[in-house]
């Protein structure tokens, strides 16, 4: 049978790849959003693996809520990206320095 650690290592690898993607692709807002989706997918896999191996489906309910929040985040993030592109014709993060922060 497949051990729980196999699933956990799979999601750990996915988590590491998406964290590295956040660092590598930090010029591009859309790539950042996609890497955040991957990050949430890795976390959800952890929840589901524990829910299955502990015979407790509260973990699956939690994944349900995480999916809800991730969908809301993607919708609002993409709306913000569209608004930024409409106003300044770029979504490269280093060109977005209007606030001079």
């Amino acid at each position: 049978m497949i051990a729980l650690s196999n699933y956990l290592i799979l999601s750990a690898v996915l988590f590491a790849i998406s964290i590295a993607g956040l660092v590598l692709n930090r010029k591009n807002l859309i790539s950042i959003l996609m890497c955040i989706e991957l990050l949430l997918l890795a976390v959800n896999t952890n929840f589901i693996a524990f829910a299955d191996y502990l015979n407790n489906n509260l973990g699956e309910v939690f994944v349900f809520f995480v999916l809800t929040v991730a969908a809301a985040e993607a919708a609002i993030g993409l709306a913000i990206v569209i608004t930024i592109y409409r106003n300044s014709h770029t979504i490269t993060t280093e060109d977005l320095d209007n606030l001079k922060g």
């Binding site: 049978m1 699933y7 799979l10 996609m34 349900f64 809800t68 969908a71 993607a74 569209i82």
Partner: protein, 208 residues
Amino acid sequence: MITNILTQIIFYIFALGVIGSALMVVSAKNPVQGVLSLVLCFVAMAGIWILLHAEFLALILIVVYVGAVMTLFLFVVMTLNLDRSQLKRGLVSYLPFGLIIIIFIMIMLFYVVGPAHFGLAAYAAPTAQPANYSNVAALGTTLYSEEVYPFEIAGALLLVAMIAAITLAYRGRRNRKQVKIASQLAVCREDRIKLIGLPSEKKHEDTP
């Protein structure tokens, strides 16, 4: 025994699919290619979730995520006219940092979640559910009885997100012959009338 080997083969195929497509998402030159790799990653992960007996969530992942959210990403990527050379500036110079982060996190997590703590000895494989077990029914029972309050909050959150997204992206209608009452009320007298004080001319009486 044959089922066991088959399960392992399916697990490793889907795991390779997940990791390969995640690497393609991170390293894609073309944003459209990145979004399509993300779709592949979600589909492969749905297979893993089915192996974990979470059938409903796996189908939700495909229907909602691949069907709606990724399509939204694809629409936005195709609508924006992105300059590809601009987007990938500095990827190579950050590559060492990315590799260091990957190796560091993986070593750390392997020690924590490796087979020493979470192997089959510590967590036995779950026993097979009876044939009439329904994952949807079990999930729904929990969701609508114990977790009904968070469920309603999640619904309200989706409503707020929908309103926020529409408000952010909505520009108002153009070329509509509608009276704008606010701008009419905001008009003050100085905008419309300009009084110019002209000096009155004197009639010259000595001219013929």
